[in-house]
Amino acid sequence: MGPKKPNRRNFLKSGAVAAAAGAVQVTTGQTPDAGTKSLKELIAYGERSHYVTSIREPVDARPSPDQFGLTFHVTTPLQDSVGIITPSSLHFIGTHRGSIVPDIDPKQHRLLIHGMVDRPLEFTMDELKRFPSVSRVHFIECQGNHSKAEDKTVQDTHGLTSCSEWTGVLLSLLLNQVGVQKGAAWVVCEGAEEVKGAGSIRLSKAMDDCLVAYGQNGEPVRPQQGFPLRLLVPGFEGIYNTKWLRRIKVVDRYYMTYNDYGHISKDEEIAALTLQWGPKSVITFPSGGQQLPGHGTYQITGLAWSGGGAVRRVEISTDGGQTWKDAEIRGPVYPKAHTRFGMNWRWEGEECVLQSRCTDELGQVQPSRAELAKFFKVSVDYYKTHGTQGTDNTIQPWRVASDGSVHNAIV
């Protein structure tokens, strides 16, 4: 599926690309000179150790920024992640709607809510902060997050998901302020960036758990994540989580915006597997491109999440899916949030295939590609040339070779 993967190294080597992609250090092997930063700079906004070099990378076949300077999709280095929160600096970016990160003055920013409402209202950022706030941990995952045989690392296969603590006002509260009229069924949420990206969401979801967020991980939402205001549509495909949110229009029907149009499927069964993410998990260690230094004890660890709610169970197989054992949940469990799991593991040098499987609170179970193929009555080989039907939440296998090298085992 899609064009051939360009040489990722070349992208990273280009200084302009690295700089524009946002605080990306070029890892040439030299140690960055800490002396170039003033002590004041280092103290004012803390930086990580220069020994830590984990960075975001552009998604294959989508150079980012492109020749217009547009950011497309940039992936989170999940292989280096610990716990459940993605550092804001490493949160994935998906902005394929023609936007150079807009520079928005929060004092000038307004949110307008109008359409089929009794009292249209316009809010300043300060006014929004005078409403009761909520803070919730949620993942955001782009529809484009699917594993391909050419992908090497978990950053390639799964890097378009990230998880933050988001702080803001419930959208339902704001909709109650304006008084939604009878007959209203959808909301169209629009951003303030160049192309004013907008998406349609059912009113039932808007009234359920959506969040108009100004905070991310204890500070204002980062510009690449929508500063000063973004929508959170927990569990839904990333594109609905409108960044730089400036307008919400309450309407009576699906509006088929440009963003909507880019995400439609004709087949009802496939469409049903879009919108809300199914249960999903991936082992982040050992994962593709990593190397086990020798025999002995390791912790298999990874992340599980579901758009349907909280993770109820994660199982791990070390024999290619023949037998499964329950993994431990190692950290907090929030609905529609990354959940850390792990398991003690002894490796004696045997070749093996590792994989994880998530079950969520609704009883939904993460499928294998073979199960998905069976459901859609195609052969597994179908996925060599096509993406999976709907959003890809299939099981990710990693093959550990007898020399300890780890490889993507998706075929």
Partner: protein
């Protein structure tokens, strides 16, 4: 009365069992008295969303011939002289398959995707050109120009005839080749997806 947005309706609806719950819950939430009321003119100026019925379309009209000149002046630098082959997405399907694959920008539905053919409604094209193009000078096109450019792209892709006039009435009526090309998934809070099922 600040606390209840409309106490009378709240009472009436409260009495209508089985229907009232949702609305009562909404009507009863307190008003915080925050925010300002925009004027109708302010709302009108902000509201660039054009729905499939075209209710929000402004007066104006345009034809493919008018659009051809505008396209040459304002769009070809990025979208290519023929509407394809430039650095920005292909807007006109080439008669023969191009040698090298065309840039797959967004929405990257697949190589060879053209909005005029894939979009279920012509209003989506009008809306997008109006809100987002020409990239870098968004919002500079007048309604007549947007009608003309939309007509040009639809004509060049074989969707409408050369002398068809697009306006508030005719644009939403355009029979798009992919009109039935989408399904909207059902969604309810707490509902699982149809697959996979419980083991």
């Amino acid at each position: 009365m600040r606390l209840f947005s409309n106490p009378l309706r709240c009472l009436i609806l409260g009495a209508v069992a089985g229907f009232g719950l949702f609305r009562v819950a909404r009507a009863q939430s307190p008003s915080y008295g925050l925010g300002t009321t925009p004027t109708p003119a302010e709302i009108h100026a902000w509201d660039i969303s054009i729905g499939p019925e075209g209710k929000e379309l402004p007066p104006g009209s345009g034809t493919a011939n008018e659009g051809a000149q505008l396209f040459a002046d304002k769009c070809t630098a990025c979208h290519g002289a023929t509407g394809w082959g430039g650095p920005a997405p292909m807007l006109i399907k080439p008669a023969t398959k191009p040698q090298k694959p065309l840039p797959c920008l967004s929405p990257c539905i697949g190589p060879g995707n053209v909005m005029a053919l894939h979009s279920p409604y012509a209003t989506t094209i009008w809306d997008y050109i109006h809100r987002a193009m020409p990239f870098g000078q968004e919002g500079t096109l007048k309604p007549d120009e947007v009608y003309a450019l939309t007509a040009f792209l639809l004509y060049k892709n074989g969707v409408i005839k050369q002398d068809d006039v697009l306006n508030q009435q005719t644009l939403p009526q355009v029979k798009m080749p992919n009109r039935n090309g989408y399904a909207i998934p059902d969604w309810k809070p707490g509902a699982p997806r149809p697959f996979p099922s419980e083991r």
